[in-house]
Symmetry: D2
Subunit: 336 residues, 4 copies
């Protein structure tokens, strides 16, 4: 399904080399000021265009509002936002017709959609669609900002690249190896109220994981101490509650107990796989001939897609939290 959320609902569409990528946001409260300028900083962060290790493809990435905004504010009706795809070079991808790229969705998409899929640049499976997520995330963050005092802040940062906590070093490793490389990103949210989350099935971990693991290239998520918790004793792992606000001395739980926020920082980490499109020569199947072929990527690609993930991760997290806040009636349907 291409939509997510119960009250604050997002529906995504688009392709890498089609007309556009876009998103429709349903259930956004009325009265939120929104201008193109609000979107530009996050969209710029997502491009990561001047950074070493990111793709030279440069889209303008200017959001076009198609509905739901009037006199500079949200109206309560669905907000449709578009991004035109201008800077595409489809010729690069002709070979995909017969040779599914290793690590990409080409092979599975061909099976699932019977060969009708738009295979150019990954089509609907492309990281290009994250531009739309970032746009929805901007709106979600603005909602969160005005909801509490002090304001809820969602911040993601790269913890390591290729196993190195010095990002330069990790990237240098990839450049030297002429290979792509993965990374770990941490997200931290502060000033959340106690009580968000809708267990049994819609625990905070469940819904955040659902959203976050739909971002292309994400392969793992852990909350609080995560996998390390599996190696701890209960007396070490349990966070003692310190005061009536629920503050705990330690935060091994990462701010979620019983699937519900406990008032401490929400903390989780994700693993980003190395970009599937690596400059290294690889082998793959040619499904017209049935033979194994050597394969090397043309196109324009990031050496380390993890570099562009933080802003997308923040956006997804904000989208989920805005929905939880609305469900908990902590964001009202008309803003003043």
């Amino acid at each position: 399904m291409n939509s997510l959320g119960r009250i604050f609902r997002v529906g995504i569409f688009g392709e890498s080399h089609g007309e556009s990528a876009g998103i429709v946001i349903d259930g956004c409260p009325a009265g939120l000021p929104l201008a193109v300028e609000d979107f530009l900083p996050d969209l710029e962060r997502r491009k990561g265009g001047t950074q070493k290790g990111t793709t030279p493809r440069q889209e303008e990435d200017k959001p076009v509002f198609k509905s739901g905004i009037f006199n500079g504010k949200t109206t309560g009706a669905p907000i449709a936002i578009f991004f035109e795809n201008k800077n595409t070079r489809s010729g690069d991808y002709e070979k995909q017709k017969s040779v599914p790229r290793p690590g990409h969705a080409d092979f599975v998409a061909h099976h699932k959609f019977g060969g009708f899929e738009d295979y150019r640049g990954g089509g609907h499976f492309s990281g290009r669609l994250t531009v739309a997520i970032v746009a929805a995330g901007v709106i979600a963050r603005k909602l969160l900002h005005q909801a509490t005092d002090p304001a809820i802040e969602v911040k993601a940062a790269i913890l390591e690249i290729g196993g190195e906590s010095n990002l330069e070093a990790g990237l240098q490793k990839a450049i030297e190896a002429k290979d792509s490389i993965g990374g770990v990103v941490e997200c931290r949210v502060n000033n959340l109220p106690i009580g968000l989350g809708e267990p049994f099935f819609d625990s905070v971990e469940s819904v955040i994981s659902h959203a976050v693991l739909s971002i292309p290239a994400i392969r793992a998520i852990e909350f609080g101490t995560g996998f390390a918790a599996a190696r701890m004793f209960g007396s070490e792992h349990n966070d003692s509650i310190d005061n009536m606000n629920g503050h705990t001395r330690t935060n091994h739980a990462g701010g979620v107990v019983g699937g519900i926020t406990n008032g401490n920082d929400l903390v989780f980490r994700i693993a980003v796989k190395p970009t599937s499109s690596t400059p290294k020569e690889q082998q793959t199947l040619n499904w017209h001939t049935g033979a194994i072929e050597n394969f090397s990527v043309k196109g324009r690609h990031d050496l380390c897609i993890a570099l562009r993930v933080p802003v997308v991760l923040e956006a997804m997290t904000a989208i989920v939290l805005a929905d939880f806040m609305l469900l908990e009636q902590r964001i009202s349907r008309i803003l003043h």
Copy 2:
């Protein structure tokens, strides 16, 4: 929300020390044979009652069919299954009223539900509810079994306890320390068809994570090489496709590419935190007095809840996969 799924939908209810735990399964195809005996092996596995490190509380755990089954087969109508709670000792939990147990949902539930929550034994937050998940899992697995040849098999196994791959050793560590302990569980599914999964948002990873992270005590999930992928080069991580069936030489992807199954084994691992109820003395807040108190668990509890997780994990995974199979029209709505 207490329901999950699009076609094969489960809705859970119940409490640890209330009348019962149960589940309603909507959208199960008609014609599936179901008998009480089908449920007993998995229910027995879940109890883990004779195992060292599991709670001495023993429920009979006999499923009671309340609807949806006629002449020993599913009818296509919702299947309601009940488990009576007989073996409860609520007196054990009186103290919870004023002292939220460290690591448990007591504190957050009190905030979210205004003190109206059933606090006895964790109420609706209790691991007791997994009995209902296991029941729905039995049905899901029977659906999966008859759908393909060779049959889809879902198997979970404990990889480590307290950091030890020798489970006896891990458990012994806990017993000696008089403390509870965590573990890692791996789930593996074979014989899946290519093409399951509904990206963008309903990628296989997304929906499995959603379901799995709603199981109490699960704090992390990783697919394929997972966090290790973040430390790999692309040329290492990409799995070369070997033949027209999509078989890959390696399986770093864990059977999912682009959010869609690729015909290789689906593989993922989860982290189970140490049981929150540890025999060790701890500190916590008394929210009537506002003072920090020493706290030690009475009640009956597992030293290592991870021991009971595999069958629950299999059940959740089967539930998700049955839904994907129905969406992909690979399970028909009438079985013959």
Copy 3:
């Protein structure tokens, strides 16, 4: 699907001659007092047992709470309510195996569920399930009652039986003709706030119609002047707004404009078909022989099912309105 609603969600299960009928209510706010006695008056109204023209089958219809209630109040967790089926006589229905009853779901259920359906007394298609709707309705009405001052009241009344506005006369017609008969029921809700409804697709009319037309035997619905509006001029039909509260002099709109409540009484009417089980001899197909047979109903049945509809209609309406009120944040998630 056997569930309905976005925040206040109900999931129904059961059969006419199976173990039970029941309902799970998810998303009910915490803190609502609930006792068995709250349910008895509406359950009694539904039975209509002492009324001329209603079935002599008498179930005890005592709700059994299985979860979600603690110390006499809702906890915020799902509320499961059961009704045991005791007074069934399945032998009456053996003939259905080969002879689908005219006007009943026997034939379509057989096709849809491949012969696996529980055919006894209509199985899952039976009006028996409305006992569960009435139970959920009791909860919804209690929610509505405490939400506004003056309280929202949902009242349904029979307008006509067999075309007669004197109900005795209509019923007498049926008794004399030894035939079943239909009727018209009107529902009226007062003290609703302005602003309920979630267009485009979830207009008040849409969601009420969805719920109401799932009640067995309902074949039509009209809001305000309904079909008569099709014969009016705009200047007649438009309701002039009188004052700042939105009061209108006339109420042709039936309290809904643009899919949203306007503060006037919500008014709609439904058509109830004559009970399919009529004492009159009829013809139908024997699908084992392929021949047309004479058929006459045994079993116990209502001459006029419309007599039992008002309380069910009120329940469905209250369920929908409680959900709208929660979406509009006019019922809070914790009640005090």
Copy 4:
């Protein structure tokens, strides 16, 4: 909510005088040929522009495909379709700011969205949005067409205007009275398979009513004999099954029994209220002054909106039926 459907899902957005109206269709099978020309006949029917009694506002109404189509066929990814609003004259609507138009959503929208709503021409509440419904309907009908042999056909026709079955006469009545007028439209679907519909809550009547009553100006719906059924005896109303295909001699049920299609023609009728914007002078409230004012409509409007309803009704019906067909696995996810 601005989306509808379980597998074939539509999400609508847009305003009367905003940038655009549009729709995103998620879950459409891959491989369906789609060209702009496929849409033009139905879009033209909706405009009704050359007909007496319809608005002189003429949009070009050319669908712009933004995603989901590649090489002239659907890809299985979401299909976004846009209609630009070019021919708007917002100045006409300035007065709405202080004077809610009788019969329109102005007053309720102002309350629900706190004055932030786009009030120009009804904004998101405008009939303009039905252009997007018609576009989705074209796709749904193409899906239905290729699914059975003979093909499923959805046809709607006006039964009466202003109470006259001679449409010219009804329209003439309105023109003479210088007033707007309502009508009745019937929809008929043939060649449907037995077994569509998902009771309890998602009966065919429920889901069609949900969709149809979201169309602006629709106030009532009746299936088969509808309200007339309330005046019939059971022996008259029951349709005798004639043969093994389920054919019935009469069709009082309108093709739906127990909420499920029975293989006979699906038949239902709807009431369309007179256009709220009538040329007649009316009274309404000025909510800035609190005084009652005389009010007369400027702008461009249909005298009889019912004239434009049939193609919208067909579209909504086709959308619902395509979803039911997918749920029943009678439309496959890849078309060949």
